[in-house]
């Protein structure tokens, strides 16, 4: 039998508290077939010993669905933001570098606070208001082709990868970022959602809104769900141009 066991090497950027400085720690863990970054992190959690053989604290990260639909496990893996649950070890160059998505406030190690994305969804009213005091009956029907098209936009899991990739989303700017913008296009396309179209457009015409996009188009290259973010942004640019004319020259205000 071969005495040497195959291992996987990691360099992980860690941070103990939101306000403490980051530092790097190396780990070397036993290889198992079909491992992904999460199962490797679980191994570190089970046996928190670094590459020097010193006992350390387990690395903190977030996860939930384990099938790339919740977005919680996003982190920067070998320089690119993506979901750690679908990052297979066999496909990654070693040592594997893990870092948090620094566009967001770091809570601890690889765990970040994506609250700003959920606040943005509230700001742009990324929902369809149907609650009333009485039954409003069935809504208008949506053509099947349009439903299929809208389904693509609805795949967004608020993972934050597109914000991490965007050069205009940073601590110097208040740009809302691609994901919530594309959600405006989604909800405005819905026959019932369209009733609040102007409100959503006006929300993204506010400070930090749509106009801050500088067309680097990193978002569309990075989105794990393949959402046509830059098409959404350009389409919204057209919509807000028309909305701005309406608002200024006066037309039906809705």
């Amino acid at each position: 039998m071969m005495s040497e066991k195959k291992t996987v090497r990691f360099i992980i950027t860690r941070q103990d508290r939101p306000d403490s400085p980051p530092y790097e720690e190396e780990f070397e863990i036993p290889y198992r077939p079909n491992m992904n970054v999460i199962s490797a992190l679980m191994e570190i959690r089970r046996n928190p010993v670094n590459a020097k053989g010193e006992k350390t604290t387990p690395v903190v990260w977030e996860m939930n669905c384990l099938e790339e639909v919740c977005g919680a496990c996003s982190m920067v893996i070998n320089g690119k933001p993506r979901q750690s649950c679908t990052a297979l070890i066999d496909h990654l160059e070693q040592p594997i570098r893990l870092e948090p998505m620094r566009t967001f406030p770091v809570v601890r190690d690889l765990q970040v606070d994506r609250s700003r994305m959920f606040d943005s969804l509230k700001k742009v009213k990324a929902w369809i208001p149907i609650d009333g005091t009485h039954d409003l009956g069935p809504g208008p029907r949506m053509p099947e082709r349009k439903r299929q098209w809208a389904y693509e936009l609805s795949k967004c899991m608020t993972c934050g990868v597109c914000l991490e990739a965007c050069p205009n989303v940073n601590s110097k700017s208040n740009f809302i970022g691609p994901a919530p913008l594309s959600q405006v296009r989604l909800f405005n396309a819905h026959p019932t959602g369209a009733m609040n179209k102007a409100e959503r457009l006006e929300a993204i015409m506010g400070d930090g809104g749509l106009a801050n996009c500088g067309n680097s188009q990193n978002c569309v290259q990075s989105c794990p769900k393949g959402i046509p973010l830059t098409t959404s942004i350009a389409a919204l640019n057209r919509e807000v141009t028309i909305q701005a004319f309406r608002n200024f020259f006066g037309s039906d205000q809705v």
């Binding site: 940073n170 930090g208 990193n218």
Partner: protein
Amino acid sequence: MAGNREFFYRRLHSLLGVIPVGLFLVQHLVVNHFATRGPEAFNRAAHFMENLPFRYFLEIFVIFLPLLFHAIYGLYIAFTAKNNVSRYNYFRNWMFMLQRLSGIITLIFVTWHVWETRVQAAFGAEVNYEMMANIVDNPMMLGFYVLGIISTVFHFSNGLWSFFVSWGITVTPRSQQISTYVTMAIFVALSIVGIRAILAFA
């Protein structure tokens, strides 16, 4: 609407980049191109421009103020970006970075160029073929002018691409792709016009 100022400024910045500043740039390059037909042809074209009615009005409202606004707001935009081409090595991300870099180079170039020509004219110097020939007699200055022209023309051409996106004219990836070809052809064409003109003085 209280929070709408940024939207208005951005759209104004985008519009002014094309109308009037971009149009002026094209006109300016075309007039300069008369230098390839000799000093007289250039001087005649330059004098025609100088003798346009309402010259000062046109200079202030069609060139100076729009450019000043575009440049100052452009600097602010350029410095709020956190460029990341090393991590995201994509074509449009490079163009994004180069749009900002070329804006800054253009600002330095245009400031120097206006100082050397228009401001000196206000002090009594005559702007003609000879003046430019004296300037680019120095190979360093010629190099600076070539860089400045290419940077300005790139900034305008690639700016046209993003102008079409900013106003929602090119929406589909296909139309944006064609727009890349068209605006890069404009970049090459205007570069040839500009470089031929400056070399005519050298």
